[in-house]
């Protein structure tokens, strides 16, 4: 292959990679990625709605089941909400050019996210201790599948978070930092909404699912 590379740094000519354009590209990529994740969880939801209509489905939130009073799920939702809010704070702070507050917001967001993940794992452990294994009932299977996948998405998000944190600590130009923080925040808000959906599937009762399915025609 021919290798007569151009002499100057080719990335910086004619706006090919100036920061504003780079930020816009990342935003587009994130939007596309969110569409993909939406498709993924949408399909899981459909699969769930179909499978949950079969007679053997026994919701984990049924009166005699361990999540009859799903207070732990509410607590976890609260923690995840705090993570989301922390990100929001970071975004606002970055916009008002307050680097320190931005950094604190990021730290808090990371902290609450890790808390959430640990707490979810703890919930897993509780259920396993009670004998609610992944294969004992389709409701359990979906529970572990949903929480696991959602957790993996957060874990992947933590890589973005780490990168952004490094930027915040390394004194990246503020305009760039603003866009990175905003992208992270969007991702977290999105995953919070996904979590609410999964939550409702986990605790919903079969009659509701049957009604939804009937309404949609399957």
């Amino acid at each position: 292959m021919n290798v007569s590379a151009p002499q100057h740094h080719p990335n910086f000519d004619e706006g090919w990679d100036d920061p504003a354009i780079a930020a816009r590209r990342k935003k587009t990529a994130l939007q596309v990625m969110l569409a993909v994740i939406t498709a993924l969880f949408f399909l899981f939801t459909i699969a769930f709605l179909i499978r949950a209509q079969y007679p053997d489905y026994e919701s984990l939130a049924a009166p005699w089941q361990p999540l009859a009073n799903p207070w732990l799920l509410w607590v976890n939702s609260g923690i995840l909400l705090l993570a989301s809010l922390s990100f929001h704070w970071a975004v606002v702070s970055a916009r008002s050019e307050n680097i320190n507050a931005t950094r604190d917001g990021l730290y808090l967001a990371g902290f609450f996210t890790v808390m959430f993940l640990i707490s979810q794992l703890w919930l897993w452990q509780q259920l396993i201790a009670l004998g609610y294994y992944v294969n004992s009932n389709p409701a359990n299977s979906f529970f572990y599948l949903f929480t696991g996948l959602h957790g993996l998405h957060l874990l992947a998000g933590l890589f973005l978070w780490l990168k952004t944190l490094r930027e915040a600590r390394g004194g990246l130009p503020l305009s760039l930092l603003q866009s990175s923080v905003a992208l992270c925040a969007t991702y977290w808000h999105f995953l919070f909404v996904v979590w609410l959906l999964l939550f409702s599937l986990i605790v919903g009762d079969q009659a509701t699912f049957r009604a939804i399915a009937a309404f949609c025609g399957f």
């Binding site: 590379a5 151009p6 090919w16 990529a29 699969a47 992944v134």
Partner: protein, 581 residues
């Protein structure tokens, strides 16, 4: 973004060693070649498997090592490799990677590091898949559709390891395709050069772009089914597995829905057909226009047809499930949507023919392949109309009619475009022309050969010869003449298979000995032919990005001496054919 990425950029644009230049490369052109070579290697494996299957069908028992299990394993691996690891990877990872940045006038993909990761994940998925040939029990023999319960129940070959490796490999492939897809979509949307509006993009970019969108939205369905099936297999869940007695023993499964798997699979599976077809449509449009020296007929119509096909492809999936049983109204719905999707598809065929009409047709090797594509795709599309109707599909389903149909429409037709496109763009990629004589020989053997293989299969299907059978002896309804036909088909298939060595030889030989191509051997208009160096250097465009003034199809513009006007020529120097664009 900050420092790490600056470092990435350094390696990207000033690769120092052999390793960073050709192996851990972040240059879209090198990645494209890596993708292509890996895909072609996988394709050759699948080709050998098809030859082995044909041996068993044409000359039963001639090769002793092909028992029932081996046949099903070959069949499954052949189908899956051809569809996913060859065609999808080659069109998106190969042609998409090479052509999108060049045709958009970009310096590279927008996220080169992610692009590199995409290739290495793809390679990993291929390695995982191929490794299943060497594990106890061998690869899965479940059929490329992987339907449970049989795909994970005793009796099907490869239920120990094969099926697990298959699903892990698919999951890894999907991650790779998603990373690549993010790049392709973002590059098309956000990295086009000055003046390159969406409606000035060559149809190749449109085809690959929409196919990528389909891939991004359809692969999750395969991912979901693979993950849930993996749970059923490894963790004993019952997402898809019903209560079952297998080999006299009651299994632990209970209440799962096999039909659910089929819906998920085909929600991916049908768009997959178009993930392969749309890039082929785009590429072939450019081949036809360039070698017929005429503007593509109905450019905007072509774009909207691609978009319409993309959208419709998500609402036809259950035409693969007529025999699984469904509400008659659903059958009616899916038959209707299937026929509706034929409208934009037929429109494309008409437009190709109208582009050829009174064109200055150069019967170059790429053009020969493009013409062969039209014929083959037309044939496969017509039989699709048969199979789309419930009442006609029921008797034909699972016969050789279906094998003939899908090989024509999504096997041979896209492969012909792959060949045509390689003959067309090889000069840009290597700086040398492929040998013309070998090319023509390769073309005629492949075109006549594949037609000879698949055309008679329609007839075998009408006879009722079932597909996915290991042995066809001793059935009253299969006459001796059908067996003779099968032997004949096998002989032709072997000839076609071996003749692909001509192509491989040509690729290799011309790389060293081919005629130097110059920058623009076909006198084409789109940006990739206008790079300052051939093959294009890192960063593609030298000092300055190109500026675009017109669409990509200004061929034979009246009043212009040359019969083509490159996209970078301003209106003051040559009139623009289609001002609307």
């Amino acid at each position: 973004m900050a420092y790490a990425e600056d470092a990435e950029r350094e390696t990207l644009h000033h690769p120092k060693s052999f390793w960073t230049k050709y192996v851990w490369s972040q240059d879209h052109k090198v990645i494209a070649i890596q993708y292509s070579l890996t895909a072609i290697f996988a394709g050759l494996v699948a080709l050998v498997l098809s030859a082995l299957m044909r041996m068993q069908i044409g000359f039963p028992g001639a090769l002793e090592f092909i028992d029932q299990n081996a046949y099903y394993q070959f069949m499954t691996m052949h189908g899956m490799i051809m569809v996913i690891y060859l065609l999808t990877a080659l069109f998106l990872g190969g042609f998409g990677n090479y052509l999108i940045p060049l045709m958009c006038g970009a310096r590279d993909m927008v996220f080169p590091f992610l692009n590199m990761l995409s290739y290495w994940f793809y390679l990993l998925s291929v390695i995982i898949l191929m490794s299943s040939f060497f594990v106890p029990g061998g690869p899965t023999g479940a059929g490329w559709t992987l339907y449970p319960p049989q795909s994970i129940s005793a009796g099907t070959p490869g239920t120990e390891w094969g099926i697990v490796l298959m699903m892990i490999s698919l999951a890894v492939f999907i991650v790779a395709a998603t990373m690549g897809g993010l790049n392709y979509v973002t590059t098309v949307l956000q990295a086009r050069t000055h003046g390159m509006s969406l409606f000035r993009l060559p149809l190749t970019v449109w085809g690959i772009f929409i196919a990528t969108v389909l891939a991004l939205l359809a692969f999750p369905a395969l991912f979901v089914s693979a993950i849930m099936l993996l749970f059923d297999k490894l963790l004993g869940t019952s997402f898809f597995m019903p209560a079952m007695v297998s080999m006299g023993q009651t299994l632990d499964y209970n209440g799962g829905s096999p039909i659910l798997f089929q819906h998920l699979f085909w929600f991916f599976g049908h768009p997959e057909v178009y993930i392969v077809a749309l890039p082929a449509f785009g590429l072939v449009s450019d081949l036809i226009s360039t070698h017929a020296r005429k503007p593509i007929f109905g450019y905007k119509m072509m774009v909207w047809a691609i978009v319409a096909i993309g959208v419709l492809s998500f609402v036809v999936w259950a035409h693969h499930m007529y025999v699984s049983g469904m509400n008659p109204y659903f059958g009616f719905f899916f038959a209707t949507t299937t026929l509706v999707i034929a409208v934009p598809t037929a429109l494309k065929v008409y437009n190709w023919v109208l582009t050829l009409f009174r064109g200055d047709i150069h019967l170059t090797v790429p053009m020969l392949f493009a013409l062969a594509f039209i014929l083959t795709f037309l044939n496969g599309g017509l039989t699709g109309l048969f199979l789309g109707n419930v009442a006609v599909d029921l008797p034909l389903s699972d016969t050789y009619f279906v094998v003939a149909h899908f090989h024509m429409v999504m096997g041979v037709a896209p492969i012909l475009v792959v060949f045509g496109s390689i003959y067309h763009w090889y000069p840009k990629i290597t700086g040398r022309m492929l040998n013309d004589t070998i090319g023509r020989l390769h073309f005629w053997i492949t075109f006549i050969g594949t037609y000879t293989i698949y055309f008679p299969m329609h007839y075998l299907g009408f006879l009722g010869m079932p597909r996915r059978y290991y042995a066809y002896e001793d059935y009253d309804f299969i006459p001796q003449s059908a067996h003779d036909l099968n032997s004949f088909i096998t002989v032709v298939a072997l000839i076609v298979g071996v003749s692909q060595l001509l192509f491989l030889f040509n690729l290799f030989y011309s790389y060293f000995k081919g005629k130097p191509a110059g920058g623009n051997p076909w006198k084409a208009t789109s940006l990739e032919w206008l790079t300052p160096q051939t093959p294009p250097a890192h960063g593609n465009w030298g000092e300055k990005l190109p500026v675009v003034h017109r669409w990509a199809y200004d061929y034979s513009v009246p009043g212009v001496a040359e019969d083509y006007v490159p996209q970078t020529v301003p209106e003051s120097e040559a009139p623009i054919h289609d001002k609307g664009i």
